[in-house]
């Protein structure tokens, strides 16, 4: 069993038109920018994959990563908690023109729905959003005298994540708070693809240090020199 893959382009080659794609990271931390750019390259060369639904906490910043995907016209819908960023023009333009659908989900509910998708929990109750516009249409139930709304699991065809170390079985670690949504998304996707700063030999990640067990990961690709979103946005980079 060897889940490693030689190139970023190979890693994203199987993503189909209309796919739902979870993209890890919070702002730039843990964002798999280079995998996203490989996907943009493929779209520019072949017209695919298009009509994507993407799941992320945000909706792209500046002209790179998710913003580049949106600007390229690959994205039909965004599921996120906070589309506002320092440079939100890519999202704002497509949203204002009606080309891009938005499903806004409270951040904790987003995290829990993704975890539920990975954990085989089809629905759960949360107090979050009760009595607000974001609860519209959702079943309400009372437990121990308090009101809760029912939320459904969220799964995806593909997850794209950024990790620090990865091995041939797909075990992953993350750099500091770059962990954020990444381990959850690996659990909730049919096919999870991780760009890692370094592919390490089996056993180099001690069993108790594994954050994402390999069972949740399908493809590991090495990207030894990832450049952080914050740096790219500061440099006004446009992909």
């Amino acid at each position: 069993m060897d889940k490693t893959c030689p190139t970023l382009a190979d890693a994203v080659a199987g993503i189909e038109d209309g796919a739902s794609v979870m993209i890890g990271g919070f702002g730039g931390s843990g964002a798999p920018i280079e995998l996203l750019h490989a996907l943009v390259d493929r779209f520019r060369a072949t017209g695919s994959p298009k009509n994507l639904t993407i799941v992320n906490n945000n909706a792209g910043n500046g002209g790179i990563g998710i913003a580049a995907m949106i600007a390229a016209g690959m994205v039909r819908k965004v599921i996120c908690s906070f589309p506002r960023t320092s440079q939100p023009h890519a999202f704002n333009e497509k949203y204002a023109s009606g080309e891009l659908e938005l499903e806004l989900v409270p951040q904790g509910t987003l995290a829990e729905r993704i975890r539920a998708g990975g954990a085989g929990i089809p629905a759960f109750y949360t107090p979050t959003g009760y009595g607000t516009d974001l609860a519209a249409g959702k079943p309400v139930a009372e437990f121990d005298g308090k009101h809760y709304i029912q939320e459904r699991w969220l799964k995806a065809d593909v997850a794209l994540v950024k990790a620090e170390h990865g091995d041939a079985y797909g075990n992953l670690t993350y750099r500091l708070a770059a962990r954020n949504f990444n381990p959850l998304m690996c659990m909730a996707a049919m096919h999870s693809i991780a760009q890692v700063t370094r592919i390490v030999p089996l056993g180099e990640i001690a069993p108790q240090d594994v954050i994402t067990p390999g069972i949740f990961v399908n493809t590991v690709v090495e990207m030894p020199t990832p450049r952080q979103e914050e740096t790219r946005v500061r440099d006004q980079e446009v992909y």
């Binding site: 906490n57 589309p83 506002r84 999202f91 951040q107 975890r115 979050t128 500091l176």
Partner: protein
């Protein structure tokens, strides 16, 4: 009339005086973030950020940022000894599960019922909610920091929120530029106001009745920034 208003930093300073030593606290983006600067000597709160850090420290020097150590506002922070890192589901388990002692948030409007509106001004524009709805429904005590009135002088403390709600009956204390106010079943209960301002003057810029409950203390804060 020029109101004897506290500055934003002074509002944050005032709120920070009520954060207990060892309290687990989430600070909202913007004005609430300032509270971290004004912890009274001898106290140390444990600050939580939604993206998965508990016990972060102050911002690093410019140029020393590590962009994998950021807060919910995507600003660089630092890791203090005893800090912990975790994923988003665990982070919101802390929030929703009632493990945080205090959430300090900004507001567009706070109602006398404790309803909070702070995520959307209306139907136009791009909505963004982040972790606000999770915080107001999970954290033990939700307090709001805000100017007492809008930029054009309208009350932000109201009878009923006219903006879309973030949470129902969730706010129990408000620190404004003109008052410290508790919210209980009676509604707004005034605890502190500027010495130079009468109750009637304060009521005139407040959108719902201000109750009192014993003496009202003077609202004061040192010059801070």
């Amino acid at each position: 009339m020029t109101l004897p208003k506290l500055t934003n930093a002074q509002i944050a300073w005032r709120a920070a005086q009520d954060i207990a030593d060892g309290a687990y606290v989430n600070l909202g983006i913007g004005l609430p973030e300032l509270c971290a600067r004004f912890q009274p000597e001898g106290r140390r709160a444990m600050f939580h950020t939604e993206n998965g850090i508990l016990g972060f420290g102050p911002a690093p020097e410019a140029g020393q940022e590590d962009w994998d150590v950021i807060n919910a506002g995507k600003k660089a922070v630092t890791l203090s000894p005893g800090a912990a890192i975790f994923h988003h589901a665990d982070s919101f388990a802390m929030v929703r599960g009632g493990h945080l002692d205090m959430a300090i948030l900004g507001a567009f409007q706070v109602a006398a019922t404790g309803d909070l509106a702070n995520w959307r001004l209306g139907a136009s524009g791009v909505p963004a909610v982040g972790g606000a709805m999770d915080l107001v429904n999970g954290v033990k005590q939700v307090v709001v920091l805000t100017d007492h009135v809008t930029k054009d002088g309208k009350p932000k403390l109201v009878d009923t929120c006219t903006y879309p709600l973030t949470g129902v009956g969730c706010v129990t204390r408000v620190y404004t530029s003109l008052a410290v106010i508790d919210i209980d079943p009676r509604g707004f209960v005034l605890r502190e106001k500027p010495a130079g301002m009468s109750l009637d003057e304060l009521q005139a810029v407040t959108g719902a009745p201000l109750h009192t409950d014993g003496p009202v203390a003077d609202l004061t804060a040192p010059k801070v920034d």
